[in-house]
Symmetry: C2
Subunit: 325 residues, 2 copies
């Protein structure tokens, strides 16, 4: 069964049935009217992400269920980076008429899994035809205290959650045709790219406890995202290369994993800065969350890499590899 | 100058410079962070629309400035249909690398015109590459009282603002190659399709004064949109065909304009129902707004057209003509 056999009305009815939620008290009017009406927090966080076929994902390589999860989760990662709590989502979907109903059904399943997990209610959206799949998700949330990119100060410690470079390695595996993990070694790398997890709990804690002075999620790669923090805060930084957290899977994948960790994008880990006086309080969190200090914020505007011998070199900005067609 | 010569960062900087607004007090954090943070009303209205090249518009036929306006205004029309007041917008834009910078610049100009006019602040967005242009706009607003589709009752009068069918005629003109008006006769029809105006003031008044019992904007065509009201309200309707408001331009364009007015989409007029006891209060608004009573809500679920001789026939649902490729 393909979409063209269903018609737009049936598709919208299905979206509503499978994904629409009016059950929560804060949703006064859910999907199916001209607009949704929700009870809103005073401080509303809004973010939006596009996923375009052949640029941000390849249909043949991305299982639709995981794509559904990722299309919401990349937005939740932005909410996490503000220290917010997600509440409502809106889904815009443009699909070719030839799209298989089974594909869409699996996409919905994944989207629903991610929204249930984060307690996000889908309240609206739009549907259109297109030659290539285009997914546009907007998420709103609350943030009584929020963490911008612009408040890092010289002397702050630079931290990152999780490990870096796995998603970029996963993307390379996919591009080289090694889709399925041969044994356990590669599957975490594929998962990092295909099915990233937003760091909502950590982000929200860092904001509520006022532990992070500046924060961003690593979506364009550590180098670019650290540059964003430095530019917005008008500071520089020194990153100790030997402290960059690398997974065992990444080390097994590559003899030279550092470039992937520095420039590979889509890690969706949190990169944040912490005032020296707050470091002891932060360390208590490290029992529950994997966080690593990777450097310090400096005065000026230079972003330097420090190698194991203590030599300093400018950290080169290199864009990460998308799919290209 | 084409986008590929600029790079994504420069494009985002330009979007921020040309469209971003942090100036208003309710915007605590505007474009340029992971997410925007705004002061929100208690009752938040959210709506989202996609415009896809070759399906919803043709690049060669739609001046980019007017497309920029339309991409916001179709969302504002949804806010109007809830009786809301728009506040903030988020813009997702996927563009081919070959896109001319001049095109994008004109698009931004139109978007800014529409947002200034409605006092909407662009607070965020995303940018990606694509083979065809894809525009995704999400708008939030406030609505202390809002009007759903679901509260029409038998006996209510059915009203529509403005006149119907002009946009469908404009689309036909464009498709047949008559892009520029030869004289004054066709230009309002082209304008209706290329540059529709949202009925924000009327929608908001109807909600605040509790004059409308149910409301929708006419985007899929009168027949389909009236069907939405009837289905959601579990009622029927009778529409008097001779009362459908038709513009002089439409009458000059076609000897048989009624099908265009009944099934043509994208009018972006307001279709609403009014309790009989509220009609005298509503009439006072007709000095400021063009509104026309076109029928009554009935018990049951049949939607009937009544001709000049009083004969009743079921109103046929026909989808309106998109661009197709």
């Amino acid at each position: 069964m393909r979409l063209k056999d269903l018609g737009e009305r049936r598709i919208i009815t299905e979206i509503r049935r499978r994904l629409g939620g009016r059950r929560r008290k804060d949703v006064r009017l859910g999907m199916g009217d001209d607009a949704a009406v929700v009870r809103s927090p005073k401080n509303l966080v809004i973010t939006s992400d596009l996923l375009v076929e052949d640029y941000d994902f390849r249909k043949a390589l991305h299982p639709p269920r995981l794509l559904g999860r990722k299309s919401l989760n990349v937005n939740l990662s932005d909410i996490a980076a503000m220290g917010g709590r997600p509440l409502h989502a809106v889904l815009g979907l443009a699909l070719p008429r030839q799209t298989d109903w089974k594909w869409l059904s699996e996409f919905f399943r994944g989207f629903r899994e991610a929204s249930h997990r984060a307690r996000v209610v889908l309240v609206g959206g739009d549907f259109s035809e297109a030659r290539r799949i285009m997914i546009s998700v907007t998420v709103t949330g609350s943030a009584e205290t929020f963490v911008p990119r612009s408040r890092a100060r010289p002397g702050d410690f630079i931290y990152v959650s999780g490990s870096l470079g796995d998603a970029a390695a996963g993307l390379r595996l996919l591009k080289s045709g090694r889709r399925r993990g041969k044994g356990r070694a590669v599957s975490p790398l594929l998962k990092a790219f295909l099915d990233p997890a937003p760091r909502l709990e950590l982000g929200s804690l860092l904001a509520r406890k006022k532990l992070a002075s500046a924060m961003i999620d690593v979506s364009d790669g550590l180098t670019i995202d650290l540059t964003h923090i430095c530019e917005e805060s008008e500071v520089g930084a020194e990153v100790e290369l030997c402290r960059i957290p690398l997974s065992g899977a990444l080390r097994r994948f590559s003899k030279n994993p550092l470039p992937l960790a520095l420039n590979g994008g889509e890690d969706f880990e949190l990169l944040f800065t912490v005032r020296p006086g707050d470091v002891p309080r932060l360390r208590r969190l490290s029992r529950r969350f994997k966080i690593t200090a990777i450097g310090r914020i400096t005065a000026g505007n230079r972003i330097l890499a420090v190698d194991a011998a203590g030599r300093k070199k400018p950290l080169k900005i290199r864009g990460y590899e998308h799919f290209k067609s």
